[in-house]
């Protein structure tokens, strides 16, 4: 019992320390409003709404943002100026920033409430499906753009393989893998470790302790930080903010499903019935695949199979690298809120959205997707 009491003591001390520092690190919310919607399996998820700038030209379709694993909606913004949703909203886009279940402002599992007995597939069949339907209902638009980071991109790939792309106008993924090979020993270790540990726990809590750790981020440049972002592109205030606010709890079931999937080398549903990667062949809406040259967590090679499999005739691969004219070789997290992201990444996103914002007309009218939506 002694080691357990020591662990509990340390955890409590970290949590209390975090509570003390929180007022120094907290930032006001960037969104204009937050709306809630309940999924079919009774989880309440949050959509943070950024109203389109009044002076900007009106756009044809709303934009849905989806964060990755162990993150929440705050991952998209380092501050007011380095914020994907705020950047797009200023330029007239109606942006909806999703919090998946269990993180951010969405309903969280608890000891006396719901348990975190969900997996990756629930994000696809419940959260994404509900969010898309809700955004289309509220905006009256026939389709929506989807921008996903990391697992947020994997979710939309799986969604398309499961339901098709009839509610989507375009898809953008940033640092989203569909295979996980050629990686560091750290990730290989996690792949081996995760299935065993997640048999015994339901949630990996991070939020109670991150406020305590956040002030220490950036004090010493470590390889851990360089693993997740390019330190040249992510100054200390940004890093502290993302650790404090943007990283969130992780459901063990999600980690287990992803670890099992990738160890086995196939990106499929939990029951193996749907091959999410092969399902991209049916995709017809435009696809932009973005990746950071300096991304240690998700290597560029891990994102390429999705680009290659996607059946859409309109697709583009964009690698954010110094050799391509960008300021830095982008890492995993700084693709979203990095110092140079407003100059390198955000305009690329906006150009893609603008180019594919008119009424959807399938490029292969004889193909299976024949919807033509004219507002």
């Amino acid at each position: 019992m002694r080691p357990l009491s020591q662990i509990v003591t340390v955890a409590l001390a970290l949590h209390l320390a975090g509570c003390l520092w929180s007022p120094l690190l907290s930032r006001p919310p960037l969104q204009d409003e937050t709306v809630y919607v309940t999924t079919a399996d009774e989880w309440r998820i949050a959509l943070h709404h950024y109203h389109p700038g009044p002076a900007a030209p009106p756009r044809g379709h709303p934009v849905i943002l989806c964060h990755g694993i162990s993150a929440n909606h705050r991952m998209w913004s380092s501050d007011e100026e380095h914020s994907v949703p705020r950047f797009l909203a200023r330029r007239g886009w109606d942006v909806w920033n999703l919090d998946l279940r269990g993180v951010g402002a969405s309903e969280r599992p608890s000891l006396w409430g719901k348990r975190a007995d969900y997996g990756f597939d629930h994000y696809v069949t419940q959260d994404a499906r509900t969010a898309i339907a809700e955004v289309l209902r509220r905006t009256g638009a026939p389709r929506a753009h989807w921008i996903g980071h990391s697992m947020g991109g994997m979710i939309i790939y799986a969604y398309i393989a499961t339901y098709g792309d009839r509610e989507l106008r375009s898809v953008t993924t940033l640092g989203s893998p569909v295979v996980m090979d050629g990686l560091s020993g750290i990730v290989r270790w996690a792949q081996q470790f995760a299935p065993a540990v997640t048999e015994y726990i339901v949630s990996i809590p991070e939020r109670p302790f991150l406020p305590a750790i956040a002030p220490a981020i950036g004090v010493f440049e470590t390889s851990i930080e360089a693993f997740f972002w390019n330190p040249d592109n992510y100054p200390r205030p940004f890093a502290q903010n993302v650790v404090y606010a943007g990283i969130d709890d992780m459901a063990a079931g999600v980690l287990r499903q992803l670890a099992v999937l990738f160890v086995g080398g196939r990106f499929t549903s939990a029951d193996g019935q749907i091959d999410y990667l092969e399902g991209l062949r049916q995709m017809r809406v435009p696809l932009l695949v973005g990746a950071g040259m300096g991304d240690n967590l998700v290597q560029v090679s891990n994102t390429l199979p999705a680009f290659e499999k996607a059946g859409t005739p309109s697709k583009r691969l964009r690698i954010f690298a110094r050799a391509n004219g960008d300021a830095v070789d982008y890492g995993h997290v700084d693709l979203l809120g990095g110092l140079h992201a407003p100059a390198d990444v955000y305009p690329e996103l906006e150009r893609w959205l603008t180019r594919h914002d008119g009424p959807y007309i399938p490029e292969n009218p004889s193909g299976p997707m024949t919807h033509t939506d004219v507002p």
């Binding site: 360089a226 967590l297 290597q299 090679s301 690698i319 690298a321 110094r322 050799a323 070789d329």
Partner: protein, 312 residues
């Protein structure tokens, strides 16, 4: 005073030369297109290593400790080291001729050393090493920044692949010198060859390393980039290669980026193979690019030990 200064500089040079390997022999190998050379750091009875650099990059980078000096490092570590110096061949020969010359050189080394060889190959040197991989002398490979398939090249490389080739030999510096936006030439070369790490790019050093390559080879390189690979025969040799192999790359390598090098690793037929990339996120002190993975103090401290270990 002048004579004194001159004498002193000669003395310094003598001391520096003495500090180097005590036995460095240079062998000339005649080919159909001219001569190439082998520099031999002799360590009799020790494992033999052949270092094959890219035809467009001076083999000096393997000799001079001030630039890193992989050959001198391995020699000090007890290896019997042979360095391939392409001479003037890249100015006139195409890939097939270079491969044949390399095959002759490896055969020579095998006969002279009378034991099996380890091959360390960098960049295009690795592509040529696979062209001759059927040679029985070779028992182990270390591939450094060697692209397998050439899918998704970065923008400057893709753009160059569709340009007409000059009829005169051109170095990479000259090929890229007129590219890009005004004022960005240095930055582009830095991004393509060096890295964004701590050691700054020195243009004078870079220009020393980059050698002219003739139109025959340049056209073949452009064709390879356009079709995305080195040909089906090369792929077959890669799949048939069964000697143990280690594949290394810098995360910031924009000339042979990690996804291209990883495709080499995936297609290697070797059962015993290992892939490793170098970056700050992996614990290294700096980022490594196409050239800086072999040159500089950082490479000497962080990359060379990995290479030496792979040869064991």
């Amino acid at each position: 005073m002048k004579r004194l200064a001159l004498a002193f500089s000669y003395l310094l040079f003598f001391v520096w030369a003495c500090a180097g390997p005590t036995q460095v022999m240079r062998t000339r190998i005649e080919t159909a297109d001219g001569a190439m050379y082998l520099r031999h750091y002799r360590n009799a009875e020790n494992p033999a290593v052949v270092i094959i650099g890219s035809p467009g990059i001076s083999s000096q980078i393997f000799d001079v400790p001030a630039y890193g000096g992989l050959a001198t490092f391995l020699y000090a570590d007890g290896f019997d080291v042979w360095v391939v110096d392409w001479g003037n061949l890249p100015r006139v020969a195409n890939r097939k001729r270079l491969s044949e010359a390399l095959g002759a050189a490896i055969r020579y080394v095998g006969e002279k050393s009378n034991r099996r060889l380890c091959v360390i190959a960098h960049s295009l040197g690795g592509v040529l090493a696979i062209d001759v991989s059927a040679r029985p002398e070779i028992e182990r490979y270390v591939f450094i920044a060697v692209p397998g398939r050439l899918a998704y090249p970065l923008d400057p490389i893709a753009a160059w692949a569709n340009q007409p080739v000059a009829m005169e030999p051109r170095s990479l510096r000259e090929l890229l010198g007129t590219e890009g936006r005004p004022g960005t030439r240095g930055r582009l070369l830095d991004a393509l060859l060096w890295s964004g790490g701590v050691e700054p790019l020195r243009p004078d050093v870079l220009e020393t390393f980059l050698l002219p390559v003739g139109p025959a080879l340049l056209q073949e390189l452009q064709e390879a980039i356009r079709i995305g690979g080195w040909g089906s025969a090369w792929e077959a040799r890669l799949a048939a290669l069964n000697a143990p192999a280690t594949v290394l790359v810098g995360q910031a390598d924009a000339l042979a980026p990690p996804w291209q090098t990883y495709s080499l690793y995936q297609r290697l037929g070797s059962v015993q193979k290992r892939y490793q990339y170098f970056s700050r996120g992996m614990g290294e002190n700096r980022e490594y690019g196409h050239l800086s993975i072999l040159v500089g103090e950082g490479a000497r401290r962080e990359v060379y030990p990995v290479i030496a270990e792979a040869l064991q």
